[in-house]
Each structure stands twice: as structure tokens, then as C-alpha cells.
């Protein structure tokens, strides 16, 4: 698979890859010497991965012609519930941390799915536009979490969960430094491979593009458009649940007012930078991955360059526009 996928990227995402490359060179120069240090690159990848995983699901939603503004709020809600459940299992099971973690993570992914499904149902059965539905559920889920925690936080009682959040796998050596892949990055890449495969090689993937491009035509071609749309939100919900689990583990705590705040914009931006059409019908998971990395590299580069904070904001805006411009020119 990887060979054909790689070819796909080469062909379709030429522009995006060139833009990423140009940005990488720019970052290496501006962020010299810190940017290209292996630990920094691992950091960049890890920093990208939380919103990155959501951006994968968002790519499905946007290809289907929709949008999901509720991802950040849903992340906060499912993380809260998950941590509460985890703590409960920990007590009930007499301190069995592995069981508690498994339980908590499952609850988060399941609730993520449920929240996505709720969005999907309101959109398909209720026939309300995605923007409004998810604007509404954004408010609902955020305030539900605040209500649960009285605007405070839920701390996990499992030490292991926190360790898991920071753990790494696949250690290897670069020069004399041991570099390893953090779990979230690993998850991001695995999920990307799975979703890219789903998009490129299954019926569902084709239907998704068809529905996003022209729902009427898809319907006339015997595609169950509501079902296709529904699953886009449900899959996105599971991605949100996954991010919630990883991020809660990272912090080993869920602060309800802040958890996931602004994720929706980051995820949408990464998706669009990655070449997915805002109007739906066209997009690629690998493009989104590139978009996610580009955004994070820009941020990291500016940090490494040590510009004044306000100037950073200005330059960031310029570089975002510039990168997409380069990408456009090459297409």
C-alpha cells in the first residue's frame, strides 16, 4: 500500500509537499540552530499530533461538505467523563490501573463517537446546516463540562495514565542521541494511514467525495447520502475522543474551561491548508498531515527565532498566506 500511497501524494500533493519543503528550509535558517535538532523535530511532531488527529476527522467532515465547530468542546466533555470513569474504575477495581485506563480511554472514544453521531443525526435527520448544529453543540458540550466540574478540573488518580501520555516507542539513535516516537505521533500516523486507506480504497471514501461534491448527483446514483454524512461526523467524533484521551493523559488532568479550546479553528485551518476544498468533495488525508505540520513548523520557527511576541503574530499571518500561495503556484 505504502508505495501506491506515496505515489498518490507525489502526484496530488506535489504543491503541498513543495510548500512544506520550502517552509522546512526557511525554518532551518530562521530557527538556526535549534529548529533542526532531532528533539525539536520530535517536539514539533508531538505538538502537531493532538489537533492533527482531530484534523484527520475534520478532513472527512469537510470533504462531505460539512464543518464541525464542536470538536474542542466535545474533547473537553469526553475527557471529563473519561477521567471520572477512570477514577471510578480505579476505586472499584481496587487500583487496577491498566483496567482503569482501558476503561477510561474506551469511554472517551465511545462518547466521542456518540457526540459525533448526535451532530450527524441533527444534520441529516434534522436537516439543519452543519455550521449551526455544531455551533450549538459546541456551546452545549462546553457548558456541560463546566457544569460537571464547576468550571474546575478533573485530575486523574492514575499515575500510570500520565506516564502513558508521555511515553514513547520505537527508540532509535540519531548520532549519539536517542530519539523515539511519542505515542500521540504514532497514533496520528497510524490513524492517518487508516483513514487515507479508507478514503482512497473503499466505497465509503468514494461516496464521501461524491456527497461533498454534489449531493444530488450522489443521491441519484443510489448513494445513501445521509448515512455517508452521518459517518463522517461519527468518525470525526472518534478522532476527537482519541485526542481527548491522549491529551488528558499528557496533562493527567482535564481543565474544563481550557481543554480543547480553539481546536476547531486549528483543525479546520490545517485541513484547508492541506488542500481540502472548503466546499467539500475533494481532499486528502496526507495533505491534512502536511497542513498540520506546516502550521506547527511556522509556530515553532517563530519561537526559535525569538522574535518579539507581537511581531510573531504578524509574521505568522504572512507565512500562512505565503505558504499557501507557494502551494498554489506549483499546482
Amino acid at each position: 500500500m505504502s508505495a501506491t500511497t506515496a505515489k498518490k501524494i507525489d502526484l496530488e500533493k506535489h504543491g503541498a509537499l513543495i510548500a512544506l519543503g520550502a517552509l522546512f528550509v526557511l525554518a532551518s535558517v530562521i530557527g538556526w540552530p535549534y529548529f533542526i535538532r532531532p528533539e525539536n523535530l520530535v517536539n514539533v511532531m508531538r505538538q502537531s499530533s493532538y489537533t492533527g488527529i482531530i484534523a484527520l476527522g475534520m478532513t472527512f467532515v469537510i470533504i462531505s461538505g460539512g464543518i464541525d465547530l464542536s470538536v474542542g468542546a466535545v474533547a473537553a466533555f469526553v475527557a471529563s467523563c473519561g477521567v471520572l470513569f477512570m477514577n471510578w474504575v480505579l476505586q472499584a477495581a481496587g487500583g487496577n490501573e491498566v483496567l482503569a485506563i482501558l476503561g477510561g480511554v474506551s469511554v472517551m472514544i465511545a462518547l466521542g463517537f456518540a457526540a459525533g453521531a448526535l451532530n450527524g443525526l441533527l444534520i441529516t435527520k434534522g436537516k439543519i446546516v452543519p455550521f449551526i448544529v455544531t455551533l450549538g453543540t459546541m456551546s452545549i458540550f462546553r457548558y456541560l463540562s463546566l457544569q460537571m466540574a464547576n468550571a474546575g478540573e478533573f485530575a486523574s488518580q492514575s499515575q500510570l495514565y500520565g506516564t502513558f501520555g508521555m511515553s514513547k516507542i520505537f527508540e532509535f539513535k540519531v548520532g549519539d542521541q536517542a530519539i523515539s516516537l511519542p505515542i500521540p505521533v504514532f497514533t496520528l500516523l497510524v490513524l492517518a494511514a487508516v483513514l487515507a486507506f479508507l478514503l482512497d480504497n473503499t466505497r465509503y471514501g468514494r461516496y464521501l467525495c461524491a456527497v461533498g461534491s454534489n449531493a444530488r448527483v450522489a443521491q441519484y446514483s443510489a448513494v445513501r447520502i445521509d448515512r455517508v454524512r452521518f459517518w463522517a461526523y461519527a468518525i470525526n467524533g472518534m478522532c476527537v475522543g482519541t485526542t481527548a484521551a491522549l491529551l488528558a493523559a499528557r496533562f493527567n488532568t482535564v481543565s474544563t474551561p481550557n481543554f480543547g479550546l480553539g481546536f476547531e479553528m486549528d483543525a479546520i485551518a490545517a485541513t484547508i491548508i492541506g488542500g481540502t476544498a472548503m466546499a467539500g468533495g475533494r481532499g486528502s488525508i496526507w495533505g491534512t498531515i502536511i497542513g498540520v505540520f506546516m502550521l506547527q513548523i511556522i509556530q515553532n520557527m517563530l519561537n526559535m527565532a525569538g522574535l518579539s511576541p507581537y511581531l510573531q503574530g504578524v509574521v505568522k499571518g504572512i507565512v500562512i498566506i505565503g505558504s499557501v500561495y507557494i502551494q498554489k503556484q506549483r499546482q
Binding site: 480504497n201 466505497r203 468514494r206 461524491a210 476544498a277 468533495g281
Partner: protein, 503 residues
Amino acid sequence: MPDAILRVEKISKDFGSGPVLKDVDLEVRPGEILGIIGENGAGKSTLMKILAGIHQPTSGKVHVDGKAVRIADPIAARALKISLVPQEFNLIRDLPVYNNVFLGAELRKRSGVLDKEAMKARTRELLAQLSVDLDPEARIEGLSAAEKQMVEICKALAFDSRVLIMDEPTTMLTKYEIEILFRLVTKLRSEGMTILYISHKLKEVKHLCDRVVVLRDGELVHDGPTSDIGIVEMAQKMVGRELGSIFPAKGKPGDETVFEARGVTVPGVLEDISFQLRKGEILGLAGLVGAGRTELAETVLGLRHKSAGTFLKDGRELDLREPADAVAAGISYLSEDRQGAGIITTFTVTRNVTLVSLGEYCRSFFRLIDKKTEKTKVQGYVDSFHIKTDTLERRLENLSGGNQQKVSLAKAIDTSPSVLIVDEPTRGVDVSAKHEIYVFINELARKGISCLLISSELEEIIGMCDRVLVMRDGRIAGTLEGDRITEEQIMYHATGVQEEAAS
């Protein structure tokens, strides 16, 4: 006689603005080709869409194999093995050809993964059956209208169906492609497939179909074998009155050149195109699908960038960079791609007709749209072209295909151009409306307007044009005038057979 494979019983349909179908009864027998004809807006497409599950009848029943069925959606139609080549393109722009062909009926490997290679191979096969040279991985966006039509046909053939409905499949095709299609359709019939065939080209219907039914204002007014009815009679039954000669007498074009192309080249598409268009002349542009006629028109409009050559109007060189420049120079264009480039389906009749010419309605001091004049003018077109619509505020998506075409033509004419380029102007319009359009264009020419008529219907070219350019592979292969404008001559130039013989 075998039992009916498909029986329609007392089907009525009302979209809320009066009945479109009134108690239609129809039997379709297995293995026949049934022709369905009728005026624009008679309800043909609506009936077919009911069979394909796109619309639901207001009342009445459909029986398949003697059993009453409810075709609730296209999925149900597919389960009943009914497939439709719709009148308007139903293709996903963002997907390649082979995915469109198999949309909703994908071939999969045993693992459930898409079998792309098999789909591509099958698509190639289907396209080859239609003698279309097209890459299965090509994007829909880049295809010409005729090629899209071919893809639509492949799409209907891609899954194993028993009943194939074709709603005006030949409007975009030239004689050559039509023959290929007919061979294929006849072959399918011999394999036991049942075909419902809608067309305004009565000769085709007469030639191809076993039986013909006529719809008029939503009612079935005739049902009988094709052998019992002549073309003139068909037309009469459709419109309910006598029809005279369809083409008006040709006029006498002036001598002065109004528009001229000199050595126009667009890399890979057009090569060294030169021609002159005289005042009041109707100049035909013939050729096979993909010969580059549409491209030539688009180049005049400034939508394609030429690498060499010039266009001149009244002796002055034109700098055409976008359609607005062409319109300003008095050139107007009717696109062949009705829904892709011609009309905005979500706009009303009025808004579509005046889209290009809107400036003419903003003559007051404050440059506001003079809605009253606009309405009067549009009503004029509706009357003279018999555009079937209950109100001028109807959105075009709710008009029948032929009526959309008439709106599209009205839109092109409303700019009062001095050079009119029409690309397949009578695509999908019925015989009587065709006649009116011909008369109209002819009158324009008499008034001194020069017209470039691009058409795949040779009859139209022969009946209307003072002179004909024949294109092949992006070049002008020959110019015909007077008596030399014949079917044989055009086909020879278009296919290049004569040239080879000569050399």
C-alpha cells in the same frame, strides 16, 4: 406477446403548480425499444424520473414483472435493475471518469477494498464499445460535453440492468457517434435488455424504436408501433397541429467582413485557424466530437489564451481577455454545456435571461435595474419561444431541459450582439420550437447580424448555413459553400477520409 416487464398505471404528478402528468398508462414489453416523444415540458423526463425513483408520483402505481412496486429512491430503482441516462449530466466533477461510471455500484475485491484496476479495465471496455478515446482516470472537469454524455451512457451500462432509460442521449453527439450508439443499443436489445428512448430527433426514433408513445401536456396521446407512423405524423401528434417546412429560406449575406480570425493557435487545441464572417451570414462550424469547435468559440471569448494569431472585428484588432471584453465588442456566445456554463439553475427565468445584458436595464440615473422593462422583455422571449413556465420567477432547475435551453438562447440573444456564436443551439428542443429558433436566427441574419453556428446536427448545418467550416483535430479541414454543403462532404472533411484519398 410477452408480459409487460414494466407497467405504469394511472400515474399523475403535480409539483404544486398544476399537473405535469395526468393519468398516464403505459406498458413496456421486455426486449423492446420504446420511443417516447413529446413537446418540451410534456412530462417525458418527469415520467422517467418517477421510474428511476427520483420523483414520487402524486397518484398511480408502477408494476414491475406484474408486481406493484414502490420506487422510493434511486436505490430501489437500482434493486429493480432500472437504470437511467438522465437528460442533464449527473457526474461528480471531483471524481475521475471510472469512479463516476461505477458510482453506487463499485466493484470490490473479496476483502471489501475497491478493485480499482477492474473498474478501470471495465470502464475502458465500455468506452471502447462506444468508440470513445478517453482515459478512465481523466477528470470530469476537463471533458467536453459530448464526452460527458458518453460517460453518462457508460455509467448506465456499468451495472447489470434490465431496463435502460435514455433521456435524450444524442443531443450532444454527431452522426458518427450516434451510429455507434445505435449499434450498441440494438445489440443490447438482442441481449434481452429493454430500452426506453426519449428524443426530439424524430428520424432517430423512427429508425431505432419498435414502438413509440407520444406525450402531450402530460397525457398519453398515442401508442403504436413505429412502422405505423411517419415522422410528420409524429410531429403532428406531439404539437397537436400541422407543421410546415422546418428550415426557413436562406437569406443573402452581405460582402463586408464583420469578424475575422487570422492564424489563431492555442497550443494543443487549435492550430492556425483563419476564417471570415460576413455581415448577415450564418457560418456553420461542423466536425466530430472533440474537433475543437467549442474551444474555438471559447478562444474568441477570451476564456482560452492563444499563443498566436488575432481576431478582428470590423477590421480592428480585438484584445479579448475575458468574456466581458467579447460582450463589449458585440460578440455573444451560447454555450453547449447548458448547466455547466450556460444557465444558473438556482436563478429565475428573468435573472438568467438578463444576466449578460443586465447593463442594458440599468440606464437610469442611479443605475438601478429597471425591473419592469426587464420583465416585459423576458415575457417577450417566453412568448416567442414558447418557454413553458407558469411564472417568470420560476427557478430554472424546475424547468424541463428543452425549456432551459430556450432560456439559455434568450440569454445569448438579449445582448443584441452583432456577432452571435451559438453552440448546439437546439440541443434538446422539440421540433416546433426548433423551427421557431431557426426562424429567429434567420431573421437576425437578415437584420445583418452575423452568426457562427456550431452544431452536431448535420441537417441543421445544411438547412441553415450559407457557408460551412469543417474542423478536424483543431484545424480547419475544409470550407464548403452553396451546393457543396452536403452530408457526404462534411463527413469526408470531418473524418479526413477524402484528404487521404486525395493525397
